[in-house]
Amino acid sequence: MSKETKRTFTFYSAWDYEREEKDLDRASEQGWQLLKAGLFSSKFVKNPDLRYRYQLDYREIEDKARYLETFREQGWEYVDSTFNGWHYFRKVYDPDLPEEAYRIFTDEESLREMNGRWIRLALGMGAVIGAFLLAYLVWMILRPKLPTLFFLLSFLLLSVMLVRGALVMKRSETRRARSHEGAIFLTFIAAILLCLITGTVLAALRPSMNSDMQAGSVDRPIVDERWNEFSAPYTDFYYLDLEFEAPVPMTFRVLDKQGGVVYSASGVSFCEKGIRLRLPRGTYEFSMDVSSGYRLDLKIR
């Protein structure tokens, strides 16, 4: 006889484990008994004749036999564990038994120890994410560009979440825990992904720097040996496609405002595509040391 089963897709953060226990109790009352517990989905089997009370424990088990025996001898049936260390136990509900018979943690110390374990993990995770975001922020400051505002907003959002997570965990450390490590974790991942996707899209949508210059085929006089100007709207990498030909060896230079040489190329003929230059925001000038008889083709991306 095949039994009726169902799968639910719910996600509880670590600090919501008590809510999860209550939800499992309620499901059991309605005849759905937990079969397999997972981080994102759980499997239930229909059995209206039973009613259980559930408890969750979080720990790394060193001696599983001893662990299960300690629970079994007090009437707890081991149901399942999630891969990340949450263990599910249940006991047949007997209305005559006092409420504390359905608690696996009977003193503050052990409950705090249990909460401390996942709180440490969650904080560690938060710290890694925080460090990542900080590095990202520094990088954005060093290379300001259009998406900065959006990254900054995402960054702020993440920071707010981190702080909220930390506060919730702080609270659950002092009072009885009522909270989830997963939601923080999942929201972080979602936020980071969103951040990266937004950044990529915006970087792609950024006004493209495409100047196309062609200069001096025959006898074009150049005043002061300077020919053209280019302004970099933001600090970034720019790509030059440069091609020139001249009757005598010539030198092409990119100069910054102070007259410093940012790039130079010389020869009778020259052709190179995709020359990468990191240019801080500002105005740049191009110069050639011959005044006529050359052909120059320059594209900036």
Partner: protein
């Protein structure tokens, strides 16, 4: 001798029960309830955590009773260190009680 941290109620009763002889988790739980007149209960999560910690401290030790074919049970045994920890706690409690009763 360095000052010992006060024991939690659960730790105290576990050690106290084992001072009366080797016992398994369930036995300790029942004896604790009886001794404390139902005031102190030790749930499975608390029991596992406490015995785990005390084994790491060397206060108690695990022994498997019964030979092959017999009902094998996991018993906990109080070590000398555990006995010392219990005595120190009793002395601390007695001192506090004496202080409270003085005058």
């Amino acid at each position: 001798m360095k000052r010992r941290e006060p024991l939690s109620e659960s730790y105290f009763y576990i050690l106290l029960c084992l001072a009366r002889g080797d016992n398994h988790g369930y036995g300790i739980m029942q004896m604790t309830e009886k001794l404390s007149g139902g005031e102190v209960t030790i749930g499975s999560g608390t029991m596992y955590g406490a015995t785990d910690n005390m084994m790491k401290k060397g206060w108690i030790r695990e022994i498997l009773s019964g030979g092959p074919g017999q009902d094998r049970r996991r018993l906990y045994h109080l070590t000398d260190e555990g006995c010392e920890a219990l005595q120190a706690e009793i002395a601390r409690l007695r001192r506090m009680l004496n202080n409270a009763e003085e005058e």
